[in-house]
């Protein structure tokens, strides 16, 4: 029995490479999704009808179709339109697009949670629209939604496992490949399960430390709740 674990030990470099790749894709697509979420949230409440329609359309389409399908379309479908991406960037873009749509709803709620009185006061004090947004609305909205978007970061980490379908050698993909080579299913899955647990806990902890630093007063995060509608309501109440 122990020879089985020894066989698996020989694959540690592959697991490490895969874990590093998973982290890279998670962080890159998270950055993209935050950017897209902000843009879509602002455009969604813009006075220009075209922006509103595009933003709402983007959010509705993404939120009502399966993410695996979206990944396939970006990777397998786009080449027919002339855009050929490798598995890495197709994964980053597809996941970024997907989570960005969900984050736009979160940001919209966060922005609306800033009391109207402050906007009016800022207007009276002569601040421009742009300044009001970046100096007053955004910091408070960010503070309100921070725990929720960290939930989505963890969801993204777990969502990278879907990229195994487009042959990206991230953790889950590497696990299934090593499985088929060694036929040591239980051991391989155990290792990868623990790897995901470690990665998600490390990311949560880092995010918690970051939250304590960048917000004044420091944002204390309660234990991670389940993501979804309820955490948006909590952000609204905060």
């Amino acid at each position: 029995m122990s020879y089985q674990w020894l066989t698996l030990w020989g694959y540690v470099p592959e697991f490490l490479t895969a874990g590093w790749l998973t982290l890279q894709v998670t962080v890159l697509s998270f950055v993209l999704s935050v950017f897209l979420g902000l843009v879509a949230a602002v455009a969604g409440s813009s006075s220009v009808a075209v922006f509103r329609i595009i933003a709402r359309g983007y959010v509705e389409i993404i939120r009502n179709t399966p993410v695996l399908l979206q990944i396939f379309i970006v990777f397998f479908g786009l080449p027919s339109a002339g855009i050929s991406l490798n598995a890495y960037w197709a994964g980053v873009i597809a996941l970024g697009l997907n989570v960005g749509a969900y984050l736009s709803e979160v940001f919209r709620a966060g922005i609306q949670s800033v009391p109207r009185g402050q906007l009016e006061a800022a207007g009276i004090l002569g601040l421009e629209r742009g300044q009001i947004f970046t100096s007053i609305v955004l910091p408070q909205a960010a503070r309100a939604v921070y725990p929720t978007i960290i939930n989505y970061l963890i969801q993204l980490l777990l969502g990278t496992s879907l990229l195994s379908a487009i042959a990206l050698p991230e953790l889950t993909g590497t696990a299934t490949v090593i499985n088929s080579r060694t036929l040591l299913y239980i051991q391989t899955f155990a290792v990868v399960l623990v790897a995901y647990l470690v990665l998600s806990n490390v990311l949560s902890w880092l995010a918690g430390r970051l939250g304590a630093r960048i917000f004044h007063p420091p944002l204390v995060m309660r234990p991670r709740a389940r993501p979804g509608v309820f955490s948006i309501r909590r952000a609204n109440r905060a």
């Binding site: 027919s80 598995a87 379908a165 088929s180 155990a190």
Partner: protein
């Protein structure tokens, strides 16, 4: 977070890891345990149940696929229907993939696996094979416009393979500077070649010949990349009675030429290679 809470979390993490390590230390299905635990052979179980569950890869035309009415069809399925008919039981075709053929057998989700299963000693450590029913070699599926004639042209290019099949190992054994992408199904790998995500795909040449007839842009290279592969049925380890029965079935359909007839029906030509080469 408080120290107590953090310690509790860490302890839980180690507990989970420990539990998983313990499950890893339990054996899955060794021959001795299998024979002792199962009071009867799969053969008796199938006859008792009245249904034969065959694991087949229904994404691998023409071996197995879903026809227009959503029913399983293909060369493997025809053989399965013949086996069920001979046994006098109903047939249930269970869709499986290259990657989960073996777990399906080990956990008795299926009674026998077809699916163009290549015999090799690594797999024979965990399951058992019957005598061969079809012989194949491997070739490359490429776009006609790529100009690739053989595996030697594949330096610094990408090749798509299917997880769980023997193809990935064969490409790695070539020791060429070729990038390997491993997909969940052969359909995904073919799509990758069509869309230019990969330059070639390596698979059974019978299967590729059929695929090339479906798409004028694709062609199969004219080479045998590996020594001939003798593909067989797979059964759970430790079930000699079932194995004997299946081997007798195979002997009969080969002697009566039924196997060759079915092959010609699906691939359009007579089988290339002899099933029993006697070296």
């Amino acid at each position: 977070m408080k120290l107590a809470q953090r310690s509790a979390k860490a302890a839980l993490l180690f507990a989970v890891a420990g539990l998983l390590a313990m499950t890893g230390c339990t054996k899955v299905a060794t021959p001795e345990q299998g024979a002792a635990a199962a009071s009867a052979s799969t053969l008796q179980a199938v006859l008792q149940r009245g249904t034969l569950r065959v694991g087949d890869c229904l994404t691998f035309a023409p071996f197995g696929f879903y026809d227009k009415n959503g029913q399983p069809d293909g060369y493997d399925v025809d053989l399965a229907k013949e086996l069920a008919k001979q046994m006098g039981v109903k047939l249930e075709v269970v869709n499986t993939t290259s990657a989960n053929r073996i777990p399906n057998l080990q956990t008795s989700k299926v009674d026998v696996v077809f699916c163009n299963f290549t015999r090799n000693l690594e797999r024979a450590k965990v399951i058992e094979f019957t005598t061969p029913y079809v012989v194949a070699s491997e070739a490359l599926l490429v776009k006609k416009s790529s100009g690739i004639q053989s595996i030697k042209d594949m330096n610094n290019r990408t090749i798509a393979t299917v997880k769980g099949s023997t193809n990935g190992d064969e490409v790695r054994a070539l020791n060429m500077a070729v990038k390997i992408q491993e997909y969940d199904s052969s359909q995904a790998a073919i799509l990758a070649v069509k869309q230019g995500q990969a330059d070639a795909m390596i698979e059974d040449n019978n299967f590729l010949a059929y695929q090339a007839t479906l798409d004028p842009e694709l062609t199969v290279t004219n080479e045998a990349l590996v020594p001939l592969e003798y593909n067989a049925f797979g059964v759970k380890a430790g079930d000699q009675e079932w194995l004997n029965y299946l081997n007798l079935f195979l002997f009969n359909i080969n002697a009566s030429k039924l196997n060759a007839q079915l092959y010609k029906k699906w691939f359009g030509v007579d089988p290339h290679y002899a099933l029993n080469p006697q070296f």
